[in-house]
């Protein structure tokens, strides 16, 4: 991998190698790496951030909020490579800037409200239970492979009105999208998903039903229905948004509980703390990075960001910023953090209420059924450090 040349406006002393980006991985605990970055400068210019592309990284939560609110200088359009590789569509609404963004958001918000998500509780719980039932007698599992990766896909397929038998297929596509080493590979995976979504949309036009695809077809943006390209972007955005993010957080959460038996015991003894624990774990163990492209020059933290510069916004850094949270390394289930792990500003995660529900139900069910668990001695945990930081596997064992 060769780095792009460093632009002249970037102070050379801020140019760093950055531990996160496509193709990077580590056997260290990634949150220790995040804490070390907080000992460094407020702004760095990271080499090889998105494949060969370099970009700015701001580590303070206040700066990150500021950038996420400032769509005049920092655009979301063309940030994700997927759409441009396979046609003329764009991620809806992730790849659209305000003020147009709000039109789509107004259409989508009612589809993901807390009360609509609450209605899914039983489904979500039964998916979690069926995965746990497969391994709890055995005394061990690979939590990432046997639970975390597939569980959100099942919930997603149910909401989209797609057959649950597609779980493995969607998992394969997801791997292709996330782990693609080259743009060509990414294109192939994206095309496969888009082709499938096109078919599903067509099917729903012929056989109308109330699910997220059907709702998307009849929903109106400023008095008109979405075009075919907009519908693809909308379905793709939902697909992309809710799968590996929930899966990855679950992996980090369970690792934390396995490595901190006293905290695990606390949640077992007081399950009513779980909703709060989800918020706190989301703060401390957040694992998503989003991107923006600078479209108008702006100064932040004493550095000049110029049009064309890429900015990486790491929720991992924001959640462990010592200026924002006292003792950020400490996970305290009584803390009620105002975290920005689900983003901030117009593009705040649409699926926040769904994601929190999935995380909460997964923790509740796992702790209810599986006895105190630990990571087997000698396990080496490999973490992929791409835009979503994910444990490759998480072996857990318990006494049966």
């Amino acid at each position: 991998m060769s780095s792009s040349p460093i632009p002249a406006h970037v102070p050379p002393e801020l140019v760093r190698t950055y531990p996160f980006g496509h193709g990077k991985s580590t056997t260290r605990n990634v949150f220790d790496i995040i804490d070390e970055l907080h000992d460094g400068p407020a702004a760095i210019y990271a080499k090889e951030l998105y494949r060969e592309r370099a970009g700015w990284v701001f580590r303070k939560a206040a700066d990150i909020r500021d950038i996420l609110m400032d769509s005049e200088h920092f655009s979301s359009e063309d940030v994700a490579a997927f759409a441009k590789l396979t046609g003329n569509w764009t991620n809806v609404p992730l790849g659209i800037d305000p003020p147009r963004h709000a039109f789509y958001r107004a259409l989508l918000n009612p589809l993901f409200t807390p009360s609509r998500m609450a209605a899914l509780d039983d489904d979500i719980r039964s998916h979690a239970q069926s995965y746990i039932a497969k391994f709890h007698d055995r005394g061990h599992c690979d939590f990432v492979r046997e639970f975390a990766l597939e569980f959100p896909i099942r919930v997603f397929l149910g909401m989209m009105g797609l057959p649950l038998e597609l779980t493995q297929q969607f998992l394969q596509w997801e791997k292709g999208l996330i782990q693609a080493a080259t743009l060509e590979e990414l294109k192939v995976s994206t095309q496969a998903v888009v082709d499938y979504l096109k078919e599903a949309i067509e099917d729903r036009r012929l056989h109308p039903r109330e699910d997220l695809i059907g709702d998307g077809i009849v929903a109106e943006v400023r008095g008109r229905r979405m075009t075919q390209d907009e519908l693809i972007g909308y379905c793709f955005n939902i697909y992309l948004g809710g799968l590996d993010t929930v899966a990855s957080h679950l992996g980090h959460f369970l690792r934390y509980l396995a490595e901190n038996p006293e905290q695990q015991a606390l949640l077992r003894a007081r399950p009513e703390l779980i909703p709060n624990a989800v918020d706190e774990l989301m703060r401390a163990l957040s694992c998503v990075t989003v991107g923006r492209n600078c479209v108008k020059e702006r100064e932040i933290c004493g550095v000049t960001v110029k049009p064309g510069d890429r900015v990486a916004i790491s929720m991992m850094l924001a959640g462990r910023d010592p200026e924002e949270y006292p003792n950020p390394r400490e996970v305290d289930f009584s803390r009620k953090p105002r975290s920005i792990s689900f983003g901030h500003g117009p593009h705040i995660c649409l699926g926040i209420h769904l994601a929190k529900r999935e995380l909460r139900v997964a923790l509740e069910e796992f702790l209810k059924v599986v006895p105190p668990f630990r990571i087997p001695d000698g396990s080496v945990l490999q973490t992929d450090c791409a835009v979503v930081v994910q444990l490759r596997s998480l072996p857990l064992e318990w006494d049966v």
Binding site: R65, L68, M69, P98, A102, R105, A106, N109, P110, F112, T113, P114, S115, R116, A118, K336, P337, R338, I340, F342, G343, H344, G345, P346, I348, I352, H353
Partner: protein
């Protein structure tokens, strides 16, 4: 606050109720989207006397509140309420989290 604990805050004209509460460091009001009427996490209950003084609700705010399990008569999104002189001494309670 949700538990009924009262805080007296000084509000500056032209700022929103959400900004006034958030900037006073009251984290209970999450206001995740930063005030662009996108998330319903700044849901508050307004006392009846003040309801009629507020600007009317647009469709987006109404849709978002419809999605809350805790919507009631005095429900509003505090990011959509700008402080004016007529709102002097307004009392709001933070709605339960969804």
């Amino acid at each position: 606050m949700r538990d009924g604990e009262a805080h007296v805050l000084t509000a500056e004209a032209d700022r929103t109720v959400m900004e006034t509460i958030r900037d006073a460091g009251i984290d209970e009001l999450q206001a995740l989207c930063g005030g662009c009427c996108s998330c319903a996490t700044c849901h508050v209950f307004i006392q009846e006397d003040y309801m009629r003084l507020l600007p009317s609700m647009n469709e987006d705010e109404n849709d978002l509140l419809d999605g809350s399990e805790h919507r009631q008569e005095g429900s509003r999104l505090s990011c959509q309420i700008r402080i004016t002189d007529s709102l002097n001494r307004i009392v709001v309670q933070i709605a339960p989290e969804d």
